[in-house]
């Protein structure tokens, strides 16, 4: 048995491991015609290109119009021509990447924005599709519907023979729509099989379903199932874990290079993310979701009945105690007294947890006292004694507090830089203890000095302000700390004038001032892609930020282009792409192009109704600490942070030495620093600072 299982399992694990690796392998580069042929095959149409060595001649020959000038070939019975250049064919049609004009054939309107030409010649049938219908996402949806209809038509024509269009049945199974529908069926099947009996009862019951008994019965049913099938569930759990472990281990080795349990745990939790339903095309994640959910259900089935039993037993045990009278007599006043002292003389935030414990204890003791009908009585002498103790203790505590106020002496002084060397390298991350403050550390910085998100010293400007970016004013000297591109873009929509300081020749991020979006106008983004870069077919998105209402900034992500890849020998390929946003009105607009590297873009220009609209490009470096610095004259500088910071102002003497520890200690007392916090200078290179020991 052992031997058999070993033989069987090794190939399975190997296949699983290979699948894991393969799923993450980058797509290899395609030529444009190969890419479109692949897309058409996904949609069900059997196509082949000139480059195919063993084409299925019963299918469609897919050609780019640009290939007519570079290759010699014969048209086949059925052809699809994609017009990526201006092209005319005898007296039959003329097309370019945007449209097709048919002179001797039919123009088929495939949707609101697209049309396809169909001609029948002596050499064969030809469908002509302008390329923009395939790379502009909204048009592509319409063409997809048309191609699927054409596929069905082609199959019907093939005299009822049920021929599989795609030879790869696994790919066909993994096709999102098929998979999605089958996933629904599997879900329903699983749910029905688990809840068959309760469902049957619900359906056959003549009384109302929403009664307490229904839910109790449902729980009992689950409990009975779990008890009766305990061993099956345990074996199933172990089996599923054995199957899942190699997948997780494979991923851990692939992505981390080692077995990282933390990564495995995070991977497991992320595989339970229900948002996978919004991305049905991610088949592997979809399967993982079902698998891990099933595993969690099995664990719950195994654990829940026992856990609920223990909870009820525990509650029963705790609530059915009989309190000792003597204990009840003194514990309650003691607890109340303790609560009083803590809440009056201590920082409530620090003792809050104790206060809760005291309250829970008082409630519990009160419950037991009243339940066991204990008559706790106090003589006048006892009452007076208790009251006197409270008053006396309060006076002592008050006196102690006034003579020993909380002082710095509670803190322990430590060296700021824990090395004996007089030179320190910055940026420096400092971890500090609960009551730690730092010994004097005198330096003379030559660059602006920051503590986390606070500017604390500037070598040329003596007055420093720290503010949140929401209070930004485009006046005087300022520094804006860096943040996520989203935060920066939103900020720029409301402070467009800042872009004047950021102008760049070309960037994937750019803004248009006061753009008027209206339904009647047409907005086009013209992008030139650099084909010398290795550009694979992919969907490229455009993120648009605009002022929806007053200072509120809305963002929208729209698919910009289904990039088909570059044609061999091409240097730059340019596309005119329509931009449609769900916004009508005038606003400063910030655009971010997503899904492509900056070096692969050669040109970007924006048009409204075919008129050029000037844009301002700006650079964004996610690794930079400072987004923008604007310093002219004056002695005041304001540091703006995207993180929530407390408004702090400093005034430093520029010629004297600066005690770094003094300001850090102040920040620690006011709880303004993270732990560890970062001491850093505005410099691209690490800074060596000499500590002054005089």
């Amino acid at each position: 048995m052992k031997k058999y299982s070993k033989i069987k399992l090794i190939p399975i694990f190997a296949v699983l491991f290979v699948l894991c690796i393969v799923s993450g392998v980058r797509t290899l580069a395609y030529s444009k015609s190969e890419y479109y042929s692949k897309v058409f095959r996904i949609w069900g149409l059997n196509t082949h290109t000139l480059a195919d060595t063993a084409p299925d001649t019963t299918g469609y020959l897919l050609l780019l119009s640009s290939e007519f000038s570079t290759s010699t070939f014969k048209l086949q019975d059925r052809n699809v021509i994609i017009c990526d250049t201006s092209f005319g064919y005898s007296n039959f049609f003329y097309c370019n990447s945007e449209s097709v004009n048919v002179f001797n054939g039919t123009a088929i309107k495939t949707g609101l924005c697209t049309s396809v030409g169909q001609i029948k010649t002596q050499w064969g049938d030809i469908y002509i599709i302008p390329e923009s219908s395939l790379y502009v996402p909204t048009k592509r949806d319409e063409i997809e519907i048309f191609i699927k209809a054409l596929t069905r038509f082609s199959r019907d024509v093939e005299s009822g023979v049920n021929k599989t269009v795609s030879p790869d049945s696994i790919k066909q199974l993994a096709h999102p729509s098929i998979f999605e529908i089958s996933a629904y069926s599997v879900s329903i099947l699983l749910l029905v099989s688990v809840l068959f009996k309760p469902l049957k009862k619900v359906v056959s019951s003549k009384e109302s379903v929403f009664r307490k008994e229904t839910f109790i019965n449902l729980y009992r049913e689950i409990e009975r199932f779990s008890r009766n099938h305990r061993w099956i569930l345990i074996y199933l759990f172990l089996g599923m874990i054995a199957f899942l472990a190699p997948v997780f281990i494979g991923f851990s080795y692939k992505n981390r290079g080692t077995l990282d349990l933390d990564y495995v745990m995070r991977f497991f939790i992320s595989s339970l993310d229900v948002r996978v339903f919004s991305r049905p095309q991610e088949t592997f994640k979809f399967i993982m979701f079902y698998y891990t959910s099933a595993l969690v259900c099995i664990v719950l089935l195994l654990v829940t009945p026992g856990l609920i039993n223990i909870i009820f037993l525990s509650i029963n045990k705790v609530l059915n105690r009989k309190l000792n009278k003597n204990f009840a007599k003194y514990s309650l006043p003691t607890l109340i007294f303790l609560g009083f002292i803590l809440s009056v003389f201590y920082d409530t935030e620090k003792v809050a947890m104790f206060l809760y414990v005291i309250l829970f204890s008082i409630v519990y003791l009160c419950y037991l006292t009243s339940k066991s009908k204990l008559r706790v009585t106090y003589s006048v002498r006892e009452k007076v004694s208790l009251l006197l103790i409270v008053i006396l203790a309060s006076i002592i505590e008050m006196g102690y507090k006034s003579y020993h106020p909380v002082k710095d002496s509670n803190y322990v002084l430590e060296p700021l830089i824990g090395i004996s060397d007089q030179h320190a390298y910055f940026p420096y991350s400092k971890d500090y203890g609960k009551n730690a403050l730092f010994e004097e550390y005198l330096i003379k910085p030559e660059h602006p000095l920051f503590l986390d998100y606070y500017l604390v010293y500037h070598p040329r400007l003596s007055k420093i302000q720290n503010k949140n970016v929401s209070d930004f004013e485009n006046t005087g000297n300022y520094i804006i700390l860096n943040s996520e591109l989203n935060d920066i873009s939103k900020f720029l929509v409301n402070n467009f004038e800042v872009l004047d300081n950021l102008k760049h020749s070309l960037s994937m991020n750019f803004g248009v001032k006061n753009l008027d979006f209206s339904l009647s106008s047409q907005y086009i983004l013209k992008i030139g892609f650099d084909c010398s870069e290795e550009l694979d077919p992919k969907t490229i998105y455009l993120k648009v930020f605009y002022n929806s209402y007053k200072d509120d900034v809305s963002e929208e992500v729209i698919p910009l282009i289904n990039f088909p890849g570059c044609k061999a020998g091409m240097r730059v390929i340019e596309y005119r792409l329509p931009v449609k946003v769900d916004f009508i009105g005038q606003s400063n607009i910030i655009f971010n192009i997503l899904g492509v590297t900056p070096s692969s873009i050669k040109s970007i220009s924006f048009y409204k109704d075919n008129k050029f609209v000037p844009v301002i490009y700006f650079t964004y470096d996610k690794d930079a600490k400072i987004f923008l610095t604007d310093i002219s004259t004056g002695d005041l500088i304001t540091n703006y942070s995207f993180k929530e910071i407390s408004e702090r102002t400093f005034e430093n003497e520029l010629d004297s030495e600066f005690d770094l520890s003094e300001i850090i200690n102040e920040f620690i007392k006011d709880k303004l620093l993270r732990n560890p916090f970062l001491i850093w200078f505005d410099s691209n290179t690490p800074i060596i600072v000499e500590k002054n020991t005089n």
Partner: protein
Amino acid sequence: MFLGFMFKNIILGGLFALLFVFYLFPVDLFLEKLLGIDIKKTYLLGLTLISLFIILCVFKLVPIFNIFITFFIFGSFLVGFSVDEKYMYTLALLFLGLTVLFVILKLSSLAEYTSTLCYLCMVLGIIRDLFYEKVFKN
């Protein structure tokens, strides 16, 4: 900030003082005479306790989640204190064994965790041994 600090202290301290007075002295009888309605000591204590809970929640001294955690820890302690101490000692022994096993397997972080659990179970068992009869009737 200082005023805020004082305000919270005064309110909470005042409520605890009120609880103390309600518990020890027959305020219920005094109020009954004063208002002419039936008032029980339990009502006064209950109301003050509820007010304390509400005030603590309103002040947001700790996140709500932490309150549940505190309640859970308190409940676990009570359960541990109520059950037979043999359970605690057996669990302590089990965790001790696991600690040794994890040390041998060089899973030091897990060993540290189980050793803490062993220590907690032992302490709970000892506390139960020492104080159970003083707190509860058998």
